[in-house]
């Protein structure tokens, strides 16, 4: 549930939509996030980093 880190930035609902898209379309979280347009690659790589989530 690394997507949790996106909630403070884009909000729970958009983060949730990205998570569902990734599952439904068998995409990686990164692919689904970038497809959504809610966040860009640079932001995603900066935020979704397991080492920063502990």
């Amino acid at each position: 549930m690394l997507v949790t880190a996106l909630s403070p930035v884009i909000g729970y609902d958009k983060a949730s939509a990205i998570a569902h898209t990734a599952m439904d379309k068998k995409l990686t979280l990164r692919e689904a996030a970038l497809t959504s347009g809610f966040i860009n690659a640079e932001q995603f790589d900066h935020i979704v980093d397991p080492r920063k989530m502990i």
């Binding site: 949790t4 880190a5 909630s7 729970y12 609902d13 949730s16 998570a19 989530m53």
Partner: protein, 394 residues
């Protein structure tokens, strides 16, 4: 009806209700039996959401308007004004998430209404992004459990037990000069004073109350700030400490942040210990009530040392029969509490990795046990112990 939405899509909700999609889905999937989540959990959650909103506003994470409205509505929850908005059952997700979301949705929609917005729009007050800010069900539900347990122990259970203990102590002093036969193995033994026998009952209760009070120490340690798995993801540094300090101020109880969030969320050990203290009360009360009904057996063909108050007719067929009904009720309560303690211990053993997801059964059993012990002790004192007399002819 009104249309509400969550990440699963849209669902119809009764138009006049403040709850949202996740509460409605829980009602669909978990309308099981008659066991509703105790209201005390929601009053406790009122304090959780209020403390979080204050800390989040102070840290600049919530605007004054949004935080202020959340606080206003949290007060309505605490003041029991929104009871009918919390319809969910005990038998739901083991984390209590659906009840947390019930609170988030109700506070969100009621806040939106107060601010002139449209119910279900999630603006300007969002259930997750604002009401639940810095929290997870996995830290807020354990926190609400501890608050509800402490308030019930302090305001209901301990006062009722202390009054009963005082009444028994009074009886012990009243009967300080009456000699009777002692019994061991149900057989005649050597003499003692009635007051000595009753001083034993008072001391048992006194010790049991002390164990309940001692169990509060770990209940004062709260999980808030641990968020999803105890690491505190999405809560800012210092949130746990500030939250605990604010909660202590709001409740007047010495809550502190749990020193280890992984233990606080992965286990239910503090609740198991507190429930075990309730079992201790039940075991002591059982002995007292059993002694009383045996000593009052008769009136012609039993031991007959005690005369219990005659409160009501005891038989539908045997005219004039009067029974030790208060003793029977308190013994049934004690049996129930011992059973509930077994369920709580079982649930407490079922933690997996970072969460014990057996929480609603534990708080339901704990609050039920504490409440029936408190109410039962009051009735037992008023309608049996206070009016008990010695049959001095024996």
């Amino acid at each position: 009806m009104r249309i509400e939405s969550d990440s699963m899509g849209t669902i119809e909700v009764p138009a006049e209700r403040y709850w949202g999609a996740q509460t409605q889905r829980s009602l669909l999937h978990f309308s099981i039996g008659n066991d509703k989540m105790p209201k005390e959990v929601y009053y406790a959650y009122g304090y959780v959401k209020k403390a979080a909103a204050i800390v989040n506003e102070n840290d600049g994470r919530l605007s004054g308007e949004i935080a202020g409205t959340i606080i206003t509505v949290a007060n309505e929850v605490i003041e029991k004004k929104l009871d009918s908005e919390f319809p969910l059952y005990v038998w739901q997700t083991g984390s209590g998430t659906q009840s947390n979301m019930n609170v988030n949705e109700v506070i969100s929609n009621r806040s939106i209404q107060l601010l002139g917005g449209e119910l279900g729009s999630k603006t300007p007050v969002h259930p997750n992004d604002h009401v639940n800010l810095g929290q997870s069900s996995n830290d807020s539900f354990p926190t609400a459990m501890h608050i509800a347990a402490i308030l019930t122990i302090d305001h209901q259970l301990v006062p009722a037990l202390e009054k009963l203990e005082q009444t028994i102590t009074d009886k012990s002093r009243e009967w300080k000069d009456v000699v009777k036969i002692g019994r061991t193995h149900l057989q005649d033994a050597v003499p003692l004073i009635v007051g000595q026998e009753w001083s034993g009952y008072a001391a048992q209760l006194n010790d049991a109350i002390a164990r309940v009070k001692a169990s509060r120490t770990k209940l004062f340690e709260i999980a808030a700030g641990g968020t999803a798995v105890g690491t505190g993801l999405n809560a800012p540094a210092g949130f746990a400490e500030k939250f605990a300090a604010k909660l202590a101020e709001l409740t007047g109880k010495p809550f502190i942040t749990a020193p280890n969030k992984f233990a606080a969320q992965g286990s239910l050990d503090a609740m198991v210990a507190a429930m075990a203290a309730l079992r201790g009360v039940a075991v002591a009360l059982m002995k007292i009530a059993n002694d009383m009904r045996w000593l009052a057996s008769g009136p012609r063909c039993g031991i007959g040392e005690l005369i219990l108050p005659s409160n009501e007719p005891g038989s539908s067929i045997m005219p004039g029969k009067v029974n030790p009904t208060q003793c029977e009720a308190i013994i049934m309560i004690c049996i129930q509490v011992i059973g509930e303690d077994t369920a709580v211990a079982f649930a407490g053993s079922q933690g997996n990795f970072e969460l014990n997801a057996m929480r609603p059964i534990v708080i339901n059993n704990f609050l039920h046990a504490a409440t029936i012990l408190a109410d039962g002790s009051d009735k037992f004192r008023s309608y049996s112990v206070e009016g008990t007399q010695l049959n001095c002819r024996r």
